[in-house]
Amino acid sequence: MERLDNITLEEFGRLIRKHQAGVRAFVCSLGACFDYVDDIAQESFLIAWKKRDSFDTSRDFGNWVRGIARNVVLRKRVKDERGAHVVNMKLSEILAEQSEEEDVRDPETTLALVQALDDCVDQLPPKTGALLRERYENNATASQLAERLGTTGDAVRQAFVRLRRRLRECIQERVGEAIS
């Protein structure tokens, strides 16, 4: 079994760059509060670096770090007294358990999903694209957007539910695999 113990920090950095998007999205999918997603992902990569000699290179690095991230999220839930604000407690526990039971994703698929997302966003009508930008680029909440658009927060949330569904369908068509 080949190990990662001789890898340099620079090489490890390249692995992080390759897998960071997927790992961060995975942490978020476990119900971690948004403000802590990157923090948990960083902590997971740091643990991975410290435990690099136990990693079997025949396995996928991204999936290995996801396993670490899952434990970090669960530990936040159990140990951290401020855990209520780091993760969504019971919800995170259930989502983490569920993610453990799933088949591991092909590493290249995650990268393809990210690429497909870019393409699908580019295809959105200008008005919808602008709304998406407003929400994610400027961190506007549904209530703020509703005020600007003269509608209700729930109507905006519903619009985003439909929009995300559309994007997921578009991604699935392109990659042949659904997100999550």
């Binding site: 476990l30 403000d35 019971k90 259930i94 949330r157 997921r168 999550s180």
Partner: protein
């Protein structure tokens, strides 16, 4: 629950606006239908990928930069720990005086040459931003009449004043001072009743805190690294982090908000790393040194400002425990802090332009917008007596009960339920089958728990003769809360901390 309601629940989760109750509701739905959990995770994953794509601070480059900082902080702390351990081991080895003397005399010129070469190399690298050698820091902001002792003489501090090695600042209870390190984003805020001396060191910057409290933000990758803070009981090495340090009655407490701080206890040489969200205390007499999770966000020290009509941003911070326990305060004529009154509410508002809660949960940005020279602050609410809790309840019969719990400062209660934080004020519905136990950590004999009230017909609270059926005492050791209630009733129980244990 209809499909539309479920969609909205998921959307609220994705938007980070879900409440504890809704989160539990969602967890229940996923437990019943695992396929739905798959959907929820997909929504969260997609939303995060969109955020990474659009938001500048979440780009791959920003993440990699933060990751580098994290590695650097970790390696630096590890090196400090290794060096400290090495130093302790060396000090424990038997000394061989003659051999040392022989070795050192011929090494001195070599070391001096090396120091000059290394020093000039470092100088070339850093001279662009570097201060003249003797200036340690600079005063950025301060309250009125702050005094500095310089070479035995007392001088009045002024904004922009350069601080030299050996300068000692001593603040009175209502005074605050902000010191900055020009050329970098490092700032040190001194709280009231603090004594701090700027010391020079061969390497890096060094502060000595005799007593009091500082709130420091040390820029990563500083030309002045390492940044060392010493106290009578401890020494900390900081590199790119945010922390709060308090020195009082034989102990030094370090609470870290970001990055890592290496803390050394001088009494026995024990060394520990404190990570974000943790704190540790070094004691004068030594003893076990361990990092523990912070239970309560520390009161933030706010920089002193001359409030003006321009309303510059004077404060920005995250409150991980939520905002409900905090209140803005202002300095009154006697120099004490009090909550803002109604006439000041128009000048400093929670959700207005001057003091606003940002869109992100738990982030506050405070702007100065007063014409008077007054100090603004933010602190834990004092409307509940220290150490006490008030539970307001509404028994709704068959549909469970609603509880609103408010904690006073410094409470140490434990709860058997995850959703009951045991520390921060909260509201929640207790289902009929649920049972929650509440216990004060320091024992019930310190509390008076006989103050039960119910809300009468006119809306006024009147003393309750018997404790309500779903909120009751058990053997004077704990409070039991259940969702089961035979009748509909609104009331409250006040659990007050006693001045002395057992005294009522």
């Amino acid at each position: 629950m209809s499909g539309k309601e479920v969609n909205l629940l998921v959307a609220r989760l994705v938007d980070g606006e879900i409440s504890h109750t809704e989160s539990r509701e969602l967890a229940g739905l996923i437990e019943m239908n695992p396929e739905f959990g798959y959907e929820v995770r997909g929504e969260l994953e997609l939303s995060d990928l969109l955020s990474q794509k659009f938001h500048e601070t979440r780009s791959a480059n920003a993440f990699m930069a933060a990751m580098k900082g994290r590695f650097r902080a970790d390696r630096s702390a590890t090196r400090f720990v290794a060096a400290a351990v090495d130093m302790i081991e060396k000090s424990e080895r038997p000394k061989r005086k003659r051999a040392t003397k022989k070795t050192i005399w011929w090494l001195l010129p070599v070391a001096a040459c090396l120091a000059v070469i290394v020093g000039s190399f470092r100088y070339n690298e850093e001279q662009a931003e570097r201060l003249p050698e003797r200036i340690v820091a600079r005063i950025k902001a301060l309250s009125s009449d702050v005094e500095i002792t310089r070479k035995g003489e007392v001088v009045l501090a002024t904004i922009g004043m350069d601080l030299l090695p050996g300068d000692r600042i001593k603040t009175k209870s209502t005074q605050r001072v902000t010191c900055s390190y020009p050329g970098e984003k490092t700032t040190v805020l001194l709280d009231g009743r603090t004594e701090l001396e700027f010391q020079s060191a061969e390497k890096g910057r060094r502060l000595f805190i005799e007593k009091g409290k500082i709130d420091a933000r040390v820029a990563s990758g500083s030309a002045y690294a390492p940044f060392v803070v010493a106290t009578p009981h401890a020494e900390c090495e900081i590199k790119g982090t945010r922390f709060m340090l308090t020195v009082r009655s034989g102990r030094t407490r370090v609470e870290v908000s970001e990055g890592i701080v290496a803390l050394k206890q001088l009494a026995d040489g024990a060394v520990i790393q404190i990570g974000a969200g943790e704190f540790a205390e070094a004691r004068k007499r030594g003893g076990t040194l361990m990092a523990r999770a912070s239970k309560d966000p520390p009161d933030r020290i706010l920089p002193p400002v001359k409030l003006s009509e321009d309303g510059p941003e004077i404060f920005r911070d995250e409150f991980t425990s939520g905002m409900e326990n905090w209140e803005p305060v202002i300095e009154d004529d006697s120099g004490r802090f009090r909550p803002l009154n109604e006439s000041e509410a128009g000048l400093v508002e929670w959700d207005g332009q001057t003091l606003q809660r940002k869109a992100e949960p738990g982030v506050v940005v405070m702007h100065a917008n007063l014409t008077k020279d007054k100090q603004l602050g933010i602190r834990l609410k004092r409307d509940i007596p220290p150490g006490s809790i008030i539970i307001e309840y509404e028994f709704k019969g068959q549909s469970g009960s609603f509880f609103d719990v408010k904690y006073g400062p410094g409470v140490e209660w434990t709860a058997s339920n995850d959703y009951f934080p045991g520390k921060y004020s909260t509201s929640w519905n207790v289902e009929r089958r649920e049972l929650i136990r509440l216990k004060p950590k320091d024992g019930f004999e310190r509390y008076d728990h006989r103050c039960w009230y119910y809300r009468g017909a006119e809306g006024k609270y009147e003393p309750e003769t018997v404790s309500a059926d779903s909120l009751r005492m058990k053997g004077e050791r704990q409070i039991i809360i259940t969702g089961r209630a035979r009748k509909t009733r609104i009331g409250r129980v006040v659990i007050r901390k006693l001045a002395k244990p057992g005294a009522r």
